[in-house]
Amino acid sequence: MRTLRWLSAVALSAFALAANAQNTVNVYSIWPENWARPMFEEFEKATGVKVNFVRFSSGEALARVTAEKNNPRVDVLFGGPVETFAAGMSEGLFEPYKSPSFSKLPPRFRDADGQWIAIADDPLVFMTNDKFLKENNLKAPASWSDLLAAPYKNMLQMADARTSGTAVTRIFSVLEVNGRDENKAFDYMKKLRPNVQLYTKSGGGGTLPVGLGQAGGGIFFIVDALDTKAKGYDVTISFPKEGIGTAAEGIALIKGAKNPELGKKLIDWATSPAMQNHFAKYKINFVPAHPDVQLEPSLAAVLKGANIFPIDAAYAGANRKRIVDRWVAEVLNP
């Protein structure tokens, strides 16, 4: 019996450890840990508020917040493409809040009611392995149709739309390029299917195989692609001439949040230059959303001349589930 009492004492203290939530804001981060963590550490340095977070890819995070709707466990949803936030809006997950930066942002970087606000912009790119291109006498792909070429057969990796926002942004890019003609867009994706070696669970999942040459290329967010390059892998980044989508990365206050004031503090900070000025320092290649923050010169050089269009958040949010279901049925499992 004494052992039992001792055990329960240990158990209680273990639970107490988790409960010191005094000055802590709880966050689901869709940004990978290596980018989210330095930002949150800067936030703590600036405000003294600690951020307790876990990382989920956007589909998982959205699913969690939806499931916890009646009893939210976090205060803020941080990062992730805007269509994720649009989908969350339609579930009524967010509490409108307009941070001081709200009025300075162009309309595509904010929801009119303040249900979400952008903290960054993230264009998609084609990323190809240099050695693969050379061996197959290919130039870096400069059109969507280039990816249909024979050498790419079974050599592409890109994300799975069931879990990844990168994938959803990619699919909506294909839709836009095809004038939102769904049948035409799905025809293209079905034709691309035999060239896809693997649909990965998270958006950046294919970057390393491309870097290593295990895959020839893929479609990724620029931030993942440049990160791969920075690690020392020989890859080329290119853009299709027809254009490719860019997704604003958002932040939102969760409806019914237990620490709304701290949550707002984080949103104020993240939507302002206070956070976005740190991107360059930590070599995080997001395009800042706030107009007062300068684009880092090397990133500007990569983006020069690229045909990039924004994904229409309202259209994407309204059609997300239907399009993803159709993708699963027709493209993933033909």
């Binding site: 052992t3 055990l7 240990v10 158990a11 273990a14 639970f15 450890l17 988790a18 709880n26 689901y28 990978p32 840990e33 290596n34 963590r37 307790n52 977070f53 876990v54 990382r55 589909g59 998982e60 959205l62 699913a63 969690r64 939806t66 499931a67 009646n70 009893n71 466990r73 976090v74 079974n154 050599m155 799975d160 069931r162 879990t163 896809v196 070696q197 693997l198 649909y199 990965t200 669970k201 998270s202 950046g204 999942g205 294919g206 970057t207 390393l208 195989p209 870097g211 290593l212 040459g213 295990q214 895959a215 020839g216 690690k231 020392g232 892998y233 020989d234 993933l332 499992n333």
Partner: protein, 560 residues
Amino acid sequence: MNGSAALRRDPAVAATALVLWLLLALFVVYPMAMLLARVFVDKGGVTFAGVFGVLTDRHQIRAFWNSLLLGALVGLGGTIVGFVFAFTATRARLPRGLLTAIDAAVLLPLVSPPFTTAIAMIFSFGPRGLITYELLGLKGVTVYGLASTLSSEILTYFPIAYLTLRPLLAAIDSNVEGMALSLGASRWRVFRTVTLPLCVPGIANAFLLLFAASLADFATPLILAGNQFPVLPTQAYLQITGLFDLRGGAALSLVLLVPSLAVFLLQRYWVSRRYYVTVTGKGAGQTPFDSVSPGMRAALLAFCALVAASILYFYALLLYASLVAALGANHAFTLAHYRVIFTEGLKVIRDTLIIAGLAMPLGGLYGILVGYLVTRKQFLGRRTMEIVSMVNYALPGTIVGIAYLIAFNEPPIELAGTALVIIACYVFRYGPTGIRTTVALLQQIDKSLEEASQGLGAGSGTTFRRVTLPLIMPAFFAGLGVVFIRSMTAISATIFLVSISWSLITVKILENMTELSLGPAAAYSVLVVVIVFAVIALIGRLLRAFRAPGQVQVASMLGG
């Protein structure tokens, strides 16, 4: 003995049984009931739409057959490899050092998260794989699919077969084989007509254990199977984590219930009754003889060395990946990944150790209490308790995890987000190994010992503490060990239960691996292996201190 009369006489037993029943009701019966309700009850009426939806979707049917095919092949391949290892270890008269080396290599996959070899596989076999391209110069090789998933799972799970078969082969009286040999049978004939038939129950048992292990594994296929070879546990996982379709995921996991229950019942009630006893009387000195020819011995050794070498290669690659900046691009030595896990990852390491540390004693205690009650005491629902206590153990982790998620996510019993729900999951899922060990041990201990104590006036509580407990301490430590190892390495159930407050190293490893952020993933894996090895060594020492029939215990500790 009349049950209720016994209850009246022994309040300590009654109270303990009652508490155990309450716990079993809460953590075994209730989640399963909620899972079934979620699938079969809709708006107050009974519906078969969920399961029907799965059974009529041809992709899910394909995934179902794929799962069974993979399970069967893993069972077959793993049993063969395990048998060869066990046969070599017991028959080839290896020097002690070599035997220890084989054991160490075999232990590695058992004490690491089940998908650690998967990632090394990706780096080794593929269009630019270290082996396929750099070494063999092959082009256009695809790494994703059945072949790689199968090899990875065989390497991960064959040690279970090895540990099941080795004691069995060792227990066969070598005189039986020797006699056959001296009567003029060839070595092959002896093997075929004497050794192998005696092993059939063990082989069947190993096959079923491996089949079940494969059926529960969603992480290896998640990394390796690609899109051409979908399997059900992975589909259920994606359905729930990606789309939060609890009903769909529950229905998918429920389809797995049928084969896994069938396997469990076969294993428990058919195979386990079919063990042959070859004890031919004491003192008949074992005559050493050569049951394998020198050529065969060399072949066996070569095979084992090859398998052990490939295991070591995969783990060496992992260790290497944890120590270089970026595998494949920048091979500069760095401790940066370890710095990352010991700063950023400190919370998750702490969480895991607290959870494993609490689950360990609770699981050990649970194991001996249930084991003791069901073998030694008479009370209402004794047989039922024995069966109910095995449920979470018999089912694939995906089912258990989803059931817990459904049951404890909302009131009346809201435990989601706590450490308790993860601890409970481990205790009731891996504690049963301790139950089985306790039962097995108690069956060897004469009941008269305890009766004597009670006859001298000690209550059942005192008797248990002073007489029985010291005798079943080895089972306690065995149960403890399994719960600890699994708490450090399992993922299939608990991935559904991690939260903002409590996360686990294995979940972190999987996330890093699917992000292909290899450095930290490798560093975490190395850490887990080191911790688990240290704890096993400690438990091994404690076991010896209790002068246990040690070898068997350590084996059963790892096999479950």
